[in-house]
């Protein structure tokens, strides 16, 4: 009885060992037939231009959108047999930055009287709409899509994100926030009465 138990136990251990070995073997084999990722070479980053800014960024609007597009395949179609059109689906995560450009605030728009200040603030605008390459994902791609066709879709996505930010009152919120930030700054600089006029 004891011997039988020992034999069964040894068999079980042998089966487990074999299984682990096979797993490792298959893992090694699958990695052997795995495509190597394309890694870009090291190249320098060159400065082309340096621009001075004076922008008060007061609102960041984060959004995710999906856009798809399709086009007919460039193949002859027969009655009752039509080739499936090429299609592409892109996902994008974008950020819209809104605020005011303080360069538009010239000295004629700032009025100071003792501890009171009145400023004619320029209206808030969209300062940046950002969808970087890492924020795009190609969810599905069927057929041959030229760089220009993909670019058109990406530009439509950027416009859509910007439009959605505007529809979600990003500009009025940026405007209100700019007043809040400047008022706090001016009060800490000693002004007791701070008022703003819209240009």
């Amino acid at each position: 009885m004891k011997i039988r138990h020992w034999i069964l136990g040894l068999l079980l251990v042998a089966v487990i060992c074999l299984f682990i070995k096979r797993e490792k073997f298959f893992r090694t084999m699958s990695s052997l037939f795995k495509s190597q990722p394309v890694v870009i070479d090291e190249t320098p980053v060159l400065i082309k231009q340096i621009n001075d800014l004076a922008q008060l960024v007061t609102i960041s609007f984060y959004d995710e959108i999906v856009m798809d597009s399709s086009k007919p395949k460039n193949l002859p179609s027969f009655p009752g047999l039509r080739p499936v059109p090429d299609h592409i689906v892109l996902l994008a995560k974008g950020t819209v930055l809104a605020g005011i450009d303080l360069k538009k605030l010239d000295s004629g728009k700032v009025f100071v009287l003792k501890d009171s200040v009145n400023i004619e603030l320029p209206p808030a605008g969209i300062l940046n709409t950002i969808i970087n390459p890492s924020n795009f994902e190609v969810f599905d791609e069927e057929g041959n899509w030229s760089a220009n066709q993909v670019l058109q879709i990406k530009q439509r996505m950027i416009n859509k994100i910007r439009q959605r930010a505007i529809e979600n009152n990003a500009l009025s919120k940026a405007d209100a926030r700019a007043r809040e930030v400047l008022e706090r700054f001016l009060r800490s600089a000693g002004f007791r009465q701070v008022t703003f006029n819209k240009t």
């Binding site: 495509s35 609102i59 995710e64 700032v110 950002i130």
Partner: protein, 175 residues
Amino acid sequence: MLLPACAKKPELKEKALSIKALSELATVEYVVTKVIKANDNKTWFKPGHRKILMSCKAYITAGIDLSKIKDEQVSVDGKTVHIVLPHAELIALNIKPEDVKVEYEAVSPFRSSFSTQEKNEMASQGEKNIRNSIDSLGVLRTAEVNANLVVTNFLNRLGFDKVIISYDQNKTPLQ
């Protein structure tokens, strides 16, 4: 011609995620370029090669966060103001899709050309390299120099004759 499709994709829902209030004073924008080059010949069972050369332009915006200025960091003495500013930080890195261009592509007869996803992944690697090089480009240093000018000009317009600016010593100074 591109035709918008109307296919139902229930798993891909669009949603506006968040609106965040900021207080960033952007003072500098660097326009930088980078060549993205890659040779896809590392996979042993794929005969031939694929080579690609892309160019990319990026806009790096930096400045200071005005919300980090505490009341005690601004002191006024008559027409003189002393202000302690926070160190500059990156506000945005923007690589517009039209600024990523394929300049050259060579594909062996037995290989397929680079897909949109692959090109996008290579551009993402380029973006990461640019992000990592921000310190060495001196963007933050320039942002602080410009912040001095912007804040000084603004305070001069408010009637202050002398503006003294220093940077927060508690935070790590820029390299």
